[in-house]
Each structure stands twice: as structure tokens, then as C-alpha cells.
Amino acid sequence: MQLTQQQHEYWSKNLRVTAILLFIWFVVTFVMGFYARELNQINFFGWPLAFYMSAQGSLIIYVVIIWYYARYMNNLDRVYDVHEGEDD
């Protein structure tokens, strides 16, 4: 079968949002992790910043990334008419 223009567009939008979210994930995890000693100089409500991020802040960002992806894609399914039936 041949994919329509619309279907191609859906997939490239999916790839775009995936790449953006993956980039955020990478920065939060590895870039901040790499500079942990420097970030730890900053005090964040009692926590050294890198400690806070690794113990709590990054986790919250991960949850938000997944929440946003689910919301964005479930919406995109409808806009591009590739969504499933209603009973769920």
C-alpha cells in the first residue's frame, strides 16, 4: 500500500516530538550529570542542586516528558485521523 501525504506528515511530526523530548531527556540526565560537581555549589532549598536533580528534579521531568508525549500523540492521532475506536 501507498501512504498518503497526511500519513507521512503524521509520522514526521511524531519523529519531531520524539526527538525534542529525547533531547530534553538527554540534557537532564547526561549533561546535568556531567556537571554535577559544579551544580552542587548551588543551594536549592537546602539541597545541593545536582543532588536535588538526581534524587527528585529529573524524575519529575521524566514523568512530565511521558505525560506530554501521551497527550500530544493521542491528540495527533485524532487530528490526522489515525485514532482507534472509541471504546477505551
Binding site: R37, N40, A50, A55, Y62, I66, V82
Partner: protein, 704 residues
């Protein structure tokens, strides 16, 4: 989208998905309320004089009985029900089930303890075991759900065509899952023993009964509904003591929000303890003892003979001098307690030499990548990041987790379900670092500096239970506890928190029941993965494609029993280095599955030979690196070249996936480019999984 179950009645089936969801909410709300009432009733019974071991028995039998009850209610022999719970599990509940499936005995009991012992560097586990779900959400869960088969090797078989990729997948799935399940059953044995005082072996088999009655009767369907029940117990059990401890120390019942201030106090206290003269004195004693022992170990036979001769001479001298009887007795006693032979002496001295570890000053809890110089700090940072990477990619590659996303009613719900999974896991994981800091504060301020004559009750009771978990000895004989005199095992942090916080024994029982729930739920998921890989993928897809549904399910049940018994037998041998094997499972899974699964979805050109060789290459290099750098595996494989020659870039064996994952990607890409592209059908399958609903789709979805 899902076909409602037909025929079977009971709580875990209903007409429409909507009705089913609201029914589930009702059932589990009642269940949670009932469980809390049960704990309160036990607390009252304790106040009225119910003995402690009775509380243990009640918790053990009530919870395992409950899981068994759910198992019996959900019994089934329908293939879709048995393998994927009928694909009717709503996102929220699949999230809870995944949470329980994911959080093992190591997360529940070991995590806070590791954080206590390792400080900042331990946070690699927190980051790795949560951030991996981003990869699950973005790269795998929705697509696997659309693919809609039963197992992970199924996907490899269909996408890459033929039995070879499937077979590699089966082997890798069993390799990762089996070591992991042995560790869970080991954990079940330990907790059952703690809770009731039965022997370890009996504990293992009691726990095994609880696991089997569930997965054996109802497969994925029973396991799912039990895991939801287990999640509720384990999260309640984890939170109560931590909240209580937080109230005791900070006056605020939200430990996660306020432990920053406690961490500041711990950091200040660490600075004092590092330069405290009494602490230095104790550490110096350890240093001397370790150095003495190391010197003796250089020539064991000679030191043994010399030591024995010196003691014998002392006895002879005391008797010749007609010394006071107590002096003679002391000399005789010293001779009597001397090691029997050179081998025993060697063992004793090796133990003494290990005291060198306790001669080091305490770590600074919040310091990132500690090390003696910049080079050491660099290696520490590199290993931290490598471990985070391997744990994350491994999370997104463990078959027993990925399998759970086959069970939701739709792609839409699969996406939401990953969110709920991480949310429920997050609740425990952002609490564990708080618990570690609170426990450290308690030990550093209340226990350190107290008198040996007035040690708190919990210290005495745990020292009696297991000296390897807690031992405090007055090394410098000043009658005051120094930090360096405390030897603490990681597992005690969670297990003893109720007592440290001054809670009644019933909460200790609850915590043990929570640990049991964590271990049982993970073991269930893993056993099912192994049995399905063997029965569905190996037997049905490769050996006998004409087997009837009933026959497949029966074979799966028999295999489950066999695998469970083998795992229990291995666990009852108390294998050493079990913790290493569990961590190794992440690196192995990451290298074996992640490249082949993601490229299979995102790159149409990836083909059979690329995937097969990529998986093998990733697995081999990961395994090779471990075998040449990990002490226990080196022993198994007889590797004698020095570790330093085999270490690449200073990376620890636990993070061997750092080499396997990129190599897997490279090999798949290079080999696929060199061999013909996959056929039209496979390309259409890839398109099929990319769109939740594709107009003009030629591939029939099996999942809907």
C-alpha cells in the same frame, strides 16, 4: 477495541471497557480500605498482647492467601487471557501492575540502603531506573501495543522474519530473566524467614507456593490483578514508616519536601566526624589491624607457626613463673582461640585485612563523584554516567516490563499507561533518597556519641538477628559509640526504619509484607516471561505450529512449574554474587534487545541478518567484558590476565552494556546495508505498527 471476555464470570471480567474500569476502581478502593482496617485491627491486637511472631504469621498467610485468592478467581485457559490478560487492562491499572512488576526486593529493601552507603553516587540507580521509562514511552510501548502479539521474541520473529532472530531473542530473554528471578526468590526466602522464623529453604518454598498459585492458574490475567493488589500493599508499607520518621525528625509529614534541610545538618555533622579525634583514633586502630593482618598474609605458614609458638611460649612462661591463675588462664585462652591450622588462620587474617575499608573516613553524602584527585573523580563521574545509561537502556529492554504494554486495550492507553507506570514507580523512588538521609541523620546524631550502656532497643535486637546487618563494637574501649565503630548493612535501613521511628511491631510486619509483595510480584512477571518464551515462542512458533490453544497453555503451565522449581533450587543454594547478576541483567538486556527493537520500528531497512548479528555482537561484547573484569566471573571462566589489562576506559563490569549497545546498533546498520532489504510484507508491518489505525492497512492486527 478489545473483545470482552466471554464465558468467565467473576470480578475480573465485565462487558464494556468503561464498565470494567469503574468496577475495578470500586474493587480496589474497597480492597485498600479493607487492608488498612486489617492493619489497624492487628495493631489493636498487638496492644492487647498478640505475640510478635503471631503478627508475622498473620501477615504472611493473609497476604499470600489474598494473592492466591485473586489467582484462583482469575484462573483461565484461554490463550489471550493467559498471555496478555485479554488486553483489557486499563492504563491506570496497568501502570500499577507495571510498578509492582518493576519494583523488586532490591528496590524495596535495598535501594534506600544503597543510597545510605553510597551517597550521591547511589543516585545512579534512582535516575537509571526511572529515566528508562522515557525510552519505553518514546520508542517502544505504543508500537509494541499496535503490533499486539504475545511476547518480545514474537516481535523479533515477525519483524525480522524467520526463526533465527526469534531464537536469539528467546535465549536472551531467558538469560536476563532467570538470574533476576533467582534473586527475587532468594529475597522471598529471606523475608519469610524474618517474618516467621522458619528456615530459609522452607521460606523459599512457601513463597514459591504464593508465586505459583497465581501465575500457574491464571497466567498474565491473574498476575496482573495480583500485581495491582501488591502495588497497593508495597506503597502503603513503604510510606508509613518514612512519614513517621520525618515527623519525628522534622515535624513535617512530607519527607520528600523537607529533607534538604536535614541533608544540610548531615553534611555539617560529617565535617565534624571526619576530623573528630576519637573517630580518627578508631580508624587508626582499624588501619593497624588491617596492616598487621596483611603482613601476616604474605607468608601464611611461617606467620601461623610463629604466632602459635609465641602463644605457647607465653603459656609456658606464665606457668614457669608461677604467675597468678588468671594470668595463666588468659594465656591458655589466647592459645586456645588461635586458629586451628594455616588455612583457618588465612581466612581469619583475610577478614582482618578487609578492615582497611573501615579505616577510611565517612563519605560526604551529597558530594558528587568523590575521589582523591581529579583523575579519580573523572573515573567516578564516567562510571556514574555509564551506569545510568546501562540501567536506562536496560529498563527499556527487559522483556517482563515490555510485555506489560501488550495488555492495554489500545495504543492510546499504552501511552498513558507508561505515564502511570512511571508515576507509581516515582512515588517510591523519590522517597528512598529522603529515607536514606533521614536514617543517616538519626544514626549520626542520636546513635553516634551515645553510651554503649544505653544503646537504643532496635540496635540490640538487630545485632542479635544478624551481625552482618548491624554490629557495633567498642573498638577503642571508651564506652562511647563512634561512627567508625558501626558496621551497617544496606538492607537494614528499610527493615529497621519502623523501629528507629519508634513504631509498633505491626508496622515492621507491614514493611516485611511490603517487601514480600515487591519480590513476589516481580518473580511472577519474570516466571511468566520465561515460561512464555519457552512455550509460546520455542514450542508453538518453532517446533509445533499446529498445537491447539489448550495444549499451548497447558505446556506453558507445566514449564512455569519446572522453571519455578529450578529457580527455587538455585536460590536455596544461596549463590554468591547474586546482586551482581541482577545488575548484569540490565546490561545484557540492553545490549541484546534495545538496538534490534528500536531499529525494527524506526528503520525499515533493518533486516534479518543485521538484527541477528547485531544482537549476538552486543550480547557477546557485553558478556566478554564482564567475564574478563568481574572477579567472580573471572573465576568461573578461568581468566588470569590482570583486571587492569582488560578494563576499558576505567568502566566497571556492571556497566558493560556501554560497549554492547552502540556495537549492537553499528552491527545492525552495517550488516543490513550489506545485505538485501527486507521484503514488501515486512515494510508494511513496520508501517502497520507506526500508526494506531491505518486506512488501507494490509496487515491484520492480532491484538484488536
Amino acid at each position: 477495541m478489545a473483545t470482552p471476555a466471554t464465558g468467565t464470570g467473576g470480578v475480573f471480567s465485565a462487558g464494556s471497557n468503561k464498565a470494567f474500569k469503574s468496577q475495578l476502581k470500586k474493587v480496589y478502593t474497597w480492597y485498600t480500605g479493607g487492608f488498612i482496617l486489617f492493619v489497624i485491627a492487628l495493631a489493636i491486637a498487638e496492644q492487647m498482647g498478640l505475640p510478635r511472631n503471631w503478627i508475622g504469621y498473620v501477615f504472611l498467610f493473609a497476604t499470600v492467601g489474598l494473592y492466591a485468592g485473586i489467582g484462583v478467581m482469575s484462573r483461565t485457559s484461554d490463550a489471550a487471557e493467559y498471555y496478555v490478560a485479554g488486553r483489557r487492562v486499563p492504563a491506570l491499572f496497568n501502570g500499577m501492575a507495571t510498578g509492582a512488576d518493576w519494583m523488586s526486593a532490591a528496590s524495596f529493601i535495598g535501594m534506600a540502603g544503597s543510597l545510605y552507603l553510597l551517597g550521591f553516587n547511589g543516585l545512579a540507580f534512582i535516575l537509571g531506573w526511572t529515566g528508562g521509562y522515557c525510552l519505553v514511552a518514546l520508542f517502544l510501548a505504543p508500537y509494541l501495543r499496535k503490533f499486539g502479539q504475545f511476547t518480545i521474541p514474537d516481535f523479533l520473529g515477525a519483524r525480522y522474519g524467520g526463526n533465527i532472530p526469534r531464537f536469539v531473542g528467546i535465549c536472551a530473554a531467558i538469560l536476563c530473566s532467570f538470574t533476576y528471578v533467582v534473586a527475587q526468590i532468594y529475597g522471598v526466602g529471606l523475608i519469610t524467614t524474618r517474618l516467621t522464623g522458619v528456615t530459609f529453604e522452607l521460606g523459599v518454598f512457601l513463597g514459591l507456593g504464593g508465586i505459583l498459585v497465581c501465575s500457574f492458574l491464571g497466567g498474565m490475567r491473574a498476575v496482573t490483578w495480583t500485581q495491582v493488589a501488591q502495588y497497593i500493599i508495597l506503597i502503603v508499607a513503604y510510606m508509613i514508616p518514612v512519614v513517621w520518621l520525618s515527623v519525628k525528625i522534622t515535624g513535617v509529614p512530607v519527607p520528600q519536601a523537607v529533607y534538604g534541610k536535614v541533608l544540610e545538618k548531615v553534611t555539617a555533622r560529617e565535617a565534624d566526624l571526619i576530623k573528630d579525634p576519637k573517630e580518627i583514633q578508631v580508624r587508626d586502630i582499624f588501619k593497624t589491624r588491617a596492616a598487621d593482618a596483611s603482613a601476616k598474609l604474605k607468608d601464611v605458614d611461617k606467620s601461623f607457626a610463629d604466632g602459635k609458638a609465641a602463644l605457647a611460649a607465653a603459656v609456658a612462661k606464665a606457668e614457669a613463673d608461677n604467675a597468678a591463675p588468671d594470668v595463666v588462664d588468659a594465656a591458655k585462652k589466647a592459645l586456645g582461640s588461635y586458629p586451628k591450622d594455616a588455612a583457618a588462620a588465612k581466612a581469619a587474617w583475610t577478614k582482618e585485612a578487609a578492615l582497611a575499608a573501615r579505616a577510611a573516613p565517612p563519605i560526604r553524602h551529597a558530594e558528587a563523584f568523590p575521589g582523591k584527585d581529579d583523575a579519580a573523580r573523572d573515573v567516578s563521574r564516567r562510571n556514574f554516567l555509564a551506569l545510568v545509561f546501562c540501567l536506562m537502556v536496560g529498563t527499556a529492554a527487559l522483556p517482563h516490563i515490555l510485555m506489560r504494554y501488550y495488555t492495554t486495550p489500545s495504543v492510546r492507553q499504552a501511552r498513558e499507561s507508561v505515564f502511570w507506570s512511571l508515576f507509581f514507580i516515582f512515588l517510591l523512588y523519590f522517597t528512598a533518597p529522603a529515607l536514606a538521609v533521614l536514617a543517616k541523620f538519626d544514626v549520626y546524631t542520636f546513635l553516634v556519641g551515645s553510651e554503649f550502656a544505653k544503646l537504643p532497643q532496635w540496635v540490640a535486637s538487630w545485632q542479635k538477628v544478624d551481625p552482618s546487618l548491624l554490629s557495633i563494637i567498642d573498638v577503642n574501649k571508651d564506652g562511647i559509640v563512634q561512627l567508625a565503630e558501626i558496621a551497617i548493612g544496606g538492607d537494614i535501613i528499610v527493615l529497621a526504619t519502623p523501629e528507629i521511628a519508634g513504631l509498633p511491631y505491626v508496622i515492621s510486619g507491614l514493611v516485611a509484607a511490603g517487601g514480600l509483595a515487591a519480590a513476589l510480584s516481580t518473580a511472577d512477571g519474570l516466571l511468566l516471561t520465561i515460561a512464555n518464551a519457552l512455550s509460546h515462542d520455542f514450542y508453538y512458533k518453532m517446533l509445533d505450529p499446529n498445537a491447539s490453544t489448550a495444549r499451548r497453555v497447558t505446556i506453558s503451565k507445566i514449564l512455569l512449574l519446572v522453571v519455578a522449581l529450578i529457580a527455587a533450587w538455585v536460590a536455596s543454594q544461596k549463590p554468591a554474587d547474586i546482586l551482581f547478576l541482577v545488575s548484569a541483567a540490565f546490561s545484557l538486556a540492553a545490549a541484546a534487545f534495545f538496538p534490534a527493537l528500536t531499529l525494527g520500528i524506526f528503520w525499515k531497512r533493518a533486516n534479518k541478518w543485521g538484527a541477528t548479528l547485531g544482537m549476538l555482537a552486543g550480547l557477546s561484547v557485553t558478556f566478554y567484558y564482564m567475564a574478563t573484569t568481574q572477579p567472580w566471573l573471572r573465576g568461573v571462566f578461568g581468566v588470569t590476565s590482570p583486571i587492569a589489562d582488560n578494563i576499558w576506559w576505567g568502566i566497571q563490569p556492571i556497566s558493560a552494556g556501554l560497549w554492547g549497545v552502540p556495537l549492537g546498533f553499528i552491527v545492525i546498520i552495517v550488516v543490513s546495508m550489506l545485505t538485501p532489504a527486507p521484503n514488501r510484507e515486512v515494510q508494511e508491518l513496520v508501517e502497520h505498527v507506526r500508526y494506531p489505525n491505518l486506512t488501507g492497512d494490509t496487515v491484520k492486527s492480532l491484538g484488536t
